[in-house]
Structures are given as structure tokens and as C-alpha cells.
Subunit: 296 residues, 2 copies
DNA sequence: ATGCCTTACGTTATACGTAATTATT
DNA sequence: AATAATTACGTATAACGTAAGGCAT
């Protein structure tokens, strides 16, 4: 008795057959010829050793055994696909240093600074909330995380990175363009342009300016364009890069919530890297509130 | 970029490798040559598109990605094996009429009577408890079930089959061999030979004769031999087949628990079969308690 | 006639084993 | 030496596509 082995391509075609219902349909969908599918199904039947199809001279359909087999086939094919994806994702993660952060700006500075320490690896940043950051640091998903409060975690150390200060960007002809500083309350009710992925800044501004509408823009280049060519107010910070746009003025936000400190937390073994990060971390603007850029 | 497909034999060899740890070990275990395994693993790596092995010139081991892949591989190979088994079992069930029963004796009579009604199919009997019988009849696992009480189930009918009366088998020189009838209490404390698969009789005798020890024998032929050649008491019933063993006497059990009626319950559409079963069902012995063999 | 499945056939890909090679212990 | 992995090579299996045939609607 010849005991044929089941092949994955056969299971794939069987699963497809339970969708299409015809041999030729399977062939078309999977890019193989009709006879190839016909043969594959016959061989699969032989491999199972039991009838799977009702065959009349002119058409083929699954019997109840075949339907059961098809359900198995689908699960197996999907398991193989998931296996490949999972293994590839894992391999990618091995070649990636993932840095988590509550806000985007620190990542812009930190990512290039990390490259020399992890040559050959991809430095990837991920924006999420503190809870996820702490958890991901613990289970190794994040190599290091940037938060507005130092984290306490066994085997890890926190180092102060620097600060970020929020500022309004107004057209020079805006009614409040002459002020030395502005509070959230001063601007509340005015609609504003907002970049989509702002981390905690997003919820902060929505909370502090409940009467404003925010025009959220996901594309960074489009965002810059909007800011430059419209009179709608927007935000910037000391970490956002030089933004000397003609006809715009930059005014610090006076509320204490608009001033945050960042801490980077990582494995104790990465202390050297973390310290170097803190030393090299520098804002594009020096602080308008007069605080020092370097910490003690 | 050549995008190779994963083959099941590769996954099988990968799973084996995670056990053996060497290419040659895999070859030996799976009955393929060393080079074949070496090539298969290289092709599998190519199919995944990521490195799975640490290769030194003289040895190969899984890296962490490979271990992950091997776990997937094992699950997939097992899923395929389970699929084949499940499909084959299902196909077998299609060609089987499964009859459930609380006791073995009615099955001995019923199975041969069913053959002409289900020609080409295998008649299989299964011994289990009433609860499982009722459930299995409802979900179609059992085509019909035999119980000591008629079952009420939508779309199904119960028909009285006949009765079974328990009897003691004693050596002619046993102290109680002269009695016309015996109660369980009379025999309680005496050790007895018992067939293993007796359905509800098993628990009944253990309950009624709590001071007896039962020597349980699974093999039917051996059981007959024991009964014939030892002086240890045993049981028989009017359905157990003629048991005219020289030097043995058969004495009815007087307790009412030793007398049961059987009902066969099946689909309404099988009513004709069920009725014929009841008509053809006959004990080997006529009842010693004087009841009629045929029912109204 | 058209659609669907199968059989037949020649081609090609590829999985296999044997044998030889290299490296490690 | 012995063990383990690889490379090289010839063979054979078998999956493929094209072409042709049979049977239904």
C-alpha cells in the first residue's frame, strides 16, 4: 500500500476549493492550471485514504468528509502563514533597538545619537502611554523608554535627558502676537493646527483648551506647509527644530503643564549609553524660560 | 528574489532537529540521509528568509529565531497528523452504525440483527452510561441506544426489547447449590469472578454485595475458562448464551434489581428497524421467573 | 456551444542517495 | 581516527503546463 504524504500546496488548494467550489476556479485563483489542481486533489484524497469528493462526470464537490478536511486544511495553511510572519517579525525585532516614548520630540534627538552604539541595528521609535512603556521595558520589548517621570524598575536606571517647553506659533498679525507669553486659557477657543502623533501633548492640549477645535494633520510635510501658509495658530517646542518662518511669531506657553522634563530609562548595563544620550541631548532652541539645558 | 515555499517535510525535520540537535540525528530518526537534511534545513531557512541556525564549520544549532520556528513547526506537523486522524475517523464513522448500550448482552443480540438493515456498514457497539447515551443519541453519534428505561427525545421513539435476569453460577458442590433462588445478601461476602465490561451490572453487583471481592477478567475466552475450571462463583443471565457447564448449577437472583427490562431508542425514521429488533430479540434461556419473552 | 473535469504526454524542477571534502574533537 | 556538516553529482520522482477528449448544461 502506497502511503503518500500530504503536501502543503494540496491543503492550500483544498481550502481554496471549499471557497470556489470548482477545480478551474481554484486554478485561476492560485495561478496553476486546471489539470494540476485536479491531480492535486486526487493525490490529496489518496493521501488521506478516504473519499473527500463527490465526483460526477462533469463536476466535483466536497462530501462531508471533504468539508471537514477543508476546515483542517484552512487552519493548517493559516498556521503556516502565521508561523512565517511570526518568525520574520521576531528576526526583525532582533535587529531592531526599539525605543519607547511618551512624546515624539525626544525620539528625534535620541534616535540618531543611538546609532553609533548599536551599529548594524535599526533604531525604531514607538509612541505610547507610560503604562505600556513600563510594561514593555520590563518584558524586553523596549530597549529604553523616554518618559516625563523617572521610572523605578529592577535592573534599570533612569537618567534625566532634558526638557521640552511648549510654544504657540502665531501669525505676526494675530491679535495676541505681541505678547511675551500666553496661557492655554488665553488661546482657548481658537482653532489650531495639530500634528497627529504628539503623544501626551495631544491629550494635554485638548484638556487645557476644551473650547478649541484641533485640525489634526498626520503628514509632517503637509503640516509644515499648513503652518507656513495659513494664519491658523499652531504649536512648536524647543525640541521641534528651528522654525523661523517669515511672518510667524513664537510665544512661550506660561502654564506649568507646558514645561516637562524627560527621563530615559534603560537597563543598568546600558548606563554608559544613557549617560552619553543625556550629555548629547540638546534642544534646537535654548529654553525661553531661562532654565539651563544641562542638568546636574 | 526567489521566494521558496515551505514544505511539510522541512517542518518535520526542523521539529526533529530541535529534539536531536544534530543533522545526522535527524536523518537517522527520520530515515533520510544526512545531506538531505542539511539541504532541507538550508532551503527552509531560505523559505523563512531569516537565519534560523548558528553554523560553525563542524556543527549546527538553532538560534533563538530557529527555536521559535521549531515550535511553530512542531505545532503544524502535529496539526497535520491530527487532521488526517480526524478525517479518517470521520469517514469511518460514516460507514459505521454505532449502537450504545447500558449493558453488553443486548448488543450481542442486536448487532447481528441490524446487519441486514445497514448492509455495507459496520455495526459497532459501545458500552456507556445513560447520560452519555442520551446525549450521544441527540447529537447523532449513536444511531440507537439500549437502556433500562425508555428515553424521551424529540424525533425519537423507544421500543421495548426484552428483559435480562441475573443468575448465580455455582459449583454443584457449593453449599448453596441446592437452593431454588438466592438473594445478593445470601452470597454477599463470597468472592466472585466478574467479566470486566458489564455496563451497569458492574456497579449494581458491587453495590448489592459490598463484602465480596470481584476478580475481574477482561478477556471473554479466559473468563469462560476460569468459570469452567475453578470453583469460584460467577454470574450469568438469560442473555448470556447457553452455559450448560458440567458440574455447575445456575440459580436465579431473587432481588428485584436483578431483573431489568431493555428499551431500544432510535430515530422515528428507524421505527421499522426498531420494531423488527424487538420482534427478533430473544433470550437464549427463557425466563426462569416465568415472564413471557415477547412483549405487547 | 460552452463550461468543467479528466487523461495523456513531454518537460522541468527538485528531493534523494552515494561519494568525496572539510573541519573539529 | 572518529564524528559532523557540507559540496558535488547522477538519478528518479513528480509537479507542472499544453493539448486533447468526454460529458454535462
Amino acid at each position: 500500500m502506497e502511503t503518500r504524504l500530504i503536501e502543503l500546496y494540496q491543503l492550500e488548494e483544498l481550502a481554496a476549493f471549499s471557497d470556489c467550489g470548482t477545480i478551474s476556479g481554484v486554478g485561476e485563483r492560485l495561478g496553476v492550471s486546471q489539470p494540476a489542481v485536479s491531480r492535486a486533489m486526487r493525490l490529496l484524497e489518496e493521501a488521506f485514504g478516504v473519499p473527500l469528493f463527490n465526483r460526477s462526470s462533469n463536476s466535483v464537490s466536497l462530501n462531508s468528509t471533504g468539508e471537514k478536511a477543508a476546515r483542517h486544511a484552512r487552519l493548517i495553511v493559516e498556521a503556516v502563514q502565521r508561523a512565517v510572519e511570526d518568525v520574520r517579525a521576531y528576526d526583525r525585532s532582533l535587529n531592531t533597538v526599539l525605543v519607547g516614548s511618551e512624546a515624539p520630540a525626544p525620539l528625534w534627538s535620541v534616535a540618531p545619537l543611538l546609532s553609533p552604539f548599536f551599529s548594524g541595528k535599526v533604531i525604531a521609535g514607538e509612541l505610547t502611554d507610560v503604562r505600556t512603556l513600563q510594561e514593555g521595558l520590563g518584558n524586553g520589548r523596549f530597549r529604553m523608554v523616554i518618559t516625563t517621570c523617572p521610572l523605578r524598575l529592577a535592573g534599570h536606571v533612569s537618567v534625566r535627558l532634558g526638557h521640552e517647553d511648549l510654544m504657540f506659533v502665531l501669525s505676526a498679525d494675530h491679535a495676541l502676537a505681541g505678547r511675551r507669553s500666553l496661557s492655554f486659557a488665553d488661546m482657548d477657543g481658537q482653532n489650531m493646527l495639530l500634528f497627529n502623533r504628539l503623544g501626551f501633548w495631544r491629550s494635554l492640549t485638548e484638556r487645557m483648551m476644551p473650547h478649541s477645535r484641533f485640525y489634526v494633520q498626520s503628514d509632517m510635510a503637509a503640516m509644515r506647509d499648513f503652518v507656513a501658509h495659513s494664519s491658523i495658530p499652531s504649536f512648536t517646542t524647543n525640541l521641534a527644530g528651528p522654525l523661523a518662518v517669515k511672518g510667524k511669531v513664537v510665544i512661550p506657553v506660561s502654564d506649568k503643564e507646558a514645561h516637562v522634563e524627560y527621563f530615559v530609562t534603560g537597563r543598568s548595563g546600558d548606563l554608559g549609553v544613557l549617560s552619553q544620550l543625556a550629555r548629547s541631548f540638546a534642544p534646537f532652541y535654548s529654553s525661553l524660560s531661562g532654565e539651563p539645558d544641562q542638568q546636574g
